[in-house]
């Protein structure tokens, strides 16, 4: 609605992610790198609209982190963003960056996902702070996200350290009011300053840097005592609450009149400030989501905590009602009664509405065939993970980005080989399924391993030419960069061949007969093979072909087409009490998978639409 570089003092509604981008821009950031991952993706999608910042999607978080470290080392302020599990991928450079410190400010955003709205785990990345000895800022809303981000760069340079900026889904994806500021103009980078004892981590230098790092933690703990983001708000002194992040808002609603120590810098902690606050209140409670990160640190200071993690859960998201109930159970006075009432009637036994493949999705045909072949499928992270859901049930494991191919390899290596005289059994072959962006992220080295170590797995690369699950971001296979510029395109068949895979076939997953034929052939092969199922994402590229219809006289209600699991299909009972299927003309994208499944030739394209088809 408004220009991204509008004048200071204007107030806008921004998501936490948009506010982070704004804050980084105001701080004079020169480079921003990330790999898309919910709930962090929109930071770079917003950043790219600001002038004066080079932005890129890197192939994975480790690369993004190293690009950021390089920019910082050269003297340009840098921003690196990822989801919580992305920091696992980037952990190697992240830990080293703590040792080398910064030349210009470096901020690493970790967007955690309590409640696992779109993730495979809910690890609490505050724990990385103590592990890597880096300070952590955690905002409560978008206004703070912007303010803290600007300050994070000063903190980074003042203490010569990367700063971990921790958000959660509720701070990243919630919107609130933000007051805009001006951009700080930083000096252009003329040359890279050489300081090998600081920036080259071989043991003789790293030993010295470790001493610097440990002293830095002590210095930052001293700073934390007066950091303006650690704020005491005195109210009723019977109860003192220590909290941070989105949880602060929940507790303020649950216990409006208590006293608060609201922490914005959560590592290292201000020991004196916490002890002083403790002395002013009768009882002290620590309220936090996921791990008892603050509580354990406060208890280690020898400070008495009257209630902490035992009041709520190590699992899942908190909210105002959960917090109110836990504080009421603990017998605290002044809990907001509106949050304690019984709930009204709750509808039960309703059909769930899990996410699913879009109508027309190219993955649908692939998983219908894989289900039919009854093979074990080692899956990966992307839209195609939904191949595990009914009616496909055709993905049997999925752990982390890039793991499909390497896990399939490990499985195949321990499977008992068939007896010499046994009939070949295609079902014994392990199949890996991975998307294009995930393959570029961390599947390439896995496939190299298969080729190098004589693996015999079948790896299917479901190439829809985008990073679909996170909303269709560019990647090294799309021919375009985040900045919208044309780019080199990875030639996947040539890459597989270069890794040492001899059998590489490209198929059209909308052609189910051909897909089945090729998969059967590759499953029977006595060596590693790769099948590239190539078809663009219908959502990202807005692909709609002429719709199909059901000839109701021909439909026998056998439900075979429903194996497609397509939202455009609807089973109903007609006037004669016969089961029939109909196709929603507004939902159907014309992919034809249901038509190929139908054995009655009841699903057809209307004659008038012929010729416009694929």
């Amino acid at each position: 609605m408004t220009s991204k570089t509008q004048t200071a003092e204007a107030v806008e509604i921004l998501s936490g992610n948009e506010a982070i981008a704004r804050g980084a821009w105001e701080a004079g950031v020169r480079l921003a790198a990330a790999y898309p991952g919910t709930p962090s993706t929109e930071i770079l999608e917003s950043m790219v609209d600001y002038e004066g910042v080079y932005c890129e999607w890197s192939p994975n978080e480790k690369v993004a982190m190293e690009v950021g470290v390089g920019a910082s080392m050269a003297g340009g302020r840098a921003l690196v963003c990822m989801k919580h599990v992305g920091l696992n991928v980037a952990a190697d450079p992240f830990f080293s960056s703590s040792y080398v410190g910064v030349e210009a400010g470096l901020v690493v955003v970790s967007a955690d996902d309590p409640g696992m709205h779109s993730s495979q785990d809910e690890q609490d990345n505050r724990n990385y702070a103590k592990f890597a000895r880096v300070p952590v800022l955690e905002p409560s809303d978008s206004g703070e996200a912007k303010e803290f981000m600007v300050a994070a760069y000063d903190l980074s340079e003042r203490f010569d350290t990367p700063v971990l900026f921790r958000t959660t889904t509720r701070t990243s994806h919630s919107k609130s009011l933000v007051t805009m500021g001006e951009r700080v103009e930083t000096a252009p980078v003329a040359a890279v300053r050489r300081d090998w004892t600081k920036y080259l981590m071989m043991p003789q230098n790293a030993i010295v840097r470790h001493q610097v790092v440990e002293q830095r933690v002590l210095d930052m703990a001293e700073y934390a005592e007066t950091c303006p983001f650690n704020r005491v708000e005195m109210g009723d002194t019977r109860v003192g609450i220590i909290t941070s992040g989105a949880i602060y808002g929940y507790v303020r609603e649950a216990l409006p009149d208590a006293s608060y120590l609201k922490l914005g810098m959560i590592f290292p902690l201000p020991a004196k400030l916490i002890a002083d606050f403790r002395a002013k209140v009768d009882k002290l409670y620590v309220v936090e989501e996921l791990d008892p990160f603050l509580e354990e640190a406060i208890r280690l200071m020898g400070i008495k905590v009257d209630g902490g993690k035992e009041l709520n859960s190590l699992e899942g998201e908190l909210n105002a009602r959960l917090v109110a109930q836990s504080l009421a159970r603990a017998g605290l006075p002044g809990v907001n009664p509106d949050l304690l009432g019984d709930l009204g009637p709750q509808a039960t036994d309703l059909p769930g509405r899990p996410p699913t493949f879009c109508p027309g999705c190219s993955h649908r045909g692939l998983f219908v065939v894989l289900k039919k072949l009854r093979v074990y499928v080692s899956g990966d992270i992307g839209c195609y993970t939904m191949g595990a859901l009914p009616p496909y049930n055709a993905v049997h494991c999925s752990t982390c980005m890039g793991a499909s191919i390497s896990m399939a390899h490990g499985m195949a290596k321990v499977l008992e080989p068939p007896a010499e005289d046994a009939k070949p059994d295609l079902r014994k072959k392990i199949v890996g399924v991975i998307g294009d962006s995930t393959f570029f992220h961390s599947g390439i080295t896995s496939l190299m391993d298969v080729a190098y170590n004589g693996g015999k797995t079948l790896s299917i690369i479901a190439d829809n030419s985008t990073t679909a699950m996170t909303g269709g971001q560019e990647n090294p296979g799309t021919g375009k960069t985040l900045l919208g510029e044309p780019s080199a395109v990875v030639d996947i068949p040539a890459l597989c061949a270069a890794l040492g895979i001899k059998r590489v076939t490209t198929i059209d997953p909308y052609d189910m007969a051909e897909t089945e034929r090729v998969l059967r052939e590759e499953l029977a092969a006595d060596e590693a093979s790769v099948v590239i199922a190539k078809a663009p994402c219908v959502l990202q590229f807005k692909i709609r072909k002429p719709v199909y219809q059901v000839v109701s006289e021909l439909c026998i209600g056998c439900k075979r087409c429903l194996q497609a699991g397509c939202g455009a299909l609807n089973l109903y009972t007609d006037a004669d009490d016969d089961l029939k299927v109909e196709i929603s003309a507004t939902e159907c994208a014309g992919c034809g998978i249901c038509s190929q499944l139908c054995r009655q030739d009841a699903i057809v394209r209307p004659v008038s639409a012929e010729g416009e088809g694929s």
Partner: protein, 204 residues
């Protein structure tokens, strides 16, 4: 001046229905009228045809972006089943406005579960203070079914304390320039069409 208490609105629907744009309009309308605003939604996996919710709150001071269960002043459901699913979010006296539209969840499309026969009856039994609107039909009448989310905004507009002029001003800026008039018409039809006597609330 007395403090204006925080008002809670929960929007529910199916990925792809424009719940996010509707939340955007609500937030900007409230901001334009001088309220503090917090709003929260979930992106990513849930958007692929899954059940989506968006929380919208406004008042003099809003602390957190989430509407707690049992406290919604208004539940705005873009699809009938997604209204029924979240009825318990309403506070006593709260209003439910739902779009009389059926979108099959994937287990229903796969023949593994069935859509409730009389959703309208179930909703009204669970929450008598309910209005329904045929937002998709009204939007189609205005010019495009894509404006169904804006028709829904029209349908709930009388339950919120915002001026008509503010709604129109925000909608003008929020939708693509070529669709401004169609969207404003959808808004007007939605405002007029919520539970008029001839509204057919059956979803099939």
């Amino acid at each position: 001046m007395t403090a204006r208490p925080t008002m809670n609105v929960l929007l529910t629907g199916v990925g792809g229905q424009g719940v996010v744009l509707a939340s955007f309009v609500l937030s900007h309308v409230a901001m334009s009228e001088g309220y503090d605003v917090k709003q929260s939604e979930v992106h990513g996996m849930a958007q692929r045809g899954g059940s989506v919710t968006s929380h919208f709150r406004f008042g003099d001071k809003v602390w957190s972006p989430l509407v707690p269960e049992g406290t919604a002043d208004l539940l705005m459901a873009f699809e009938a089943l997604e209204g029924l699913r979240y009825v318990h979010w309403l506070k006593p006296g709260g209003v439910l406005v739902y779009n009389a539209l059926r979108i099959n969840p994937s287990p229903v499309s796969a023949g593994l579960a069935s859509y409730p026969d009389d959703v309208d009856g179930l909703i009204r039994a669970a929450w008598p203070n309910t209005k329904c609107v045929n937002a998709n039909e009204l939007a189609a009448k205005a010019g495009t079914v894509k404006a169904a989310n804006v028709a829904m905004l029209g349908a709930i507009s009388s339950t919120l304390p915002f001026a008509l002029g503010t709604w129109e001003e925000v909608i003008r800026k929020a939708v693509p320039p070529k669709t401004v008039e169609v969207n404003l018409e959808a808004f007007r039809l939605g405002a007029a069409g919520a539970s008029t006597s001839d509204t057919d609330c059956s979803t099939r």
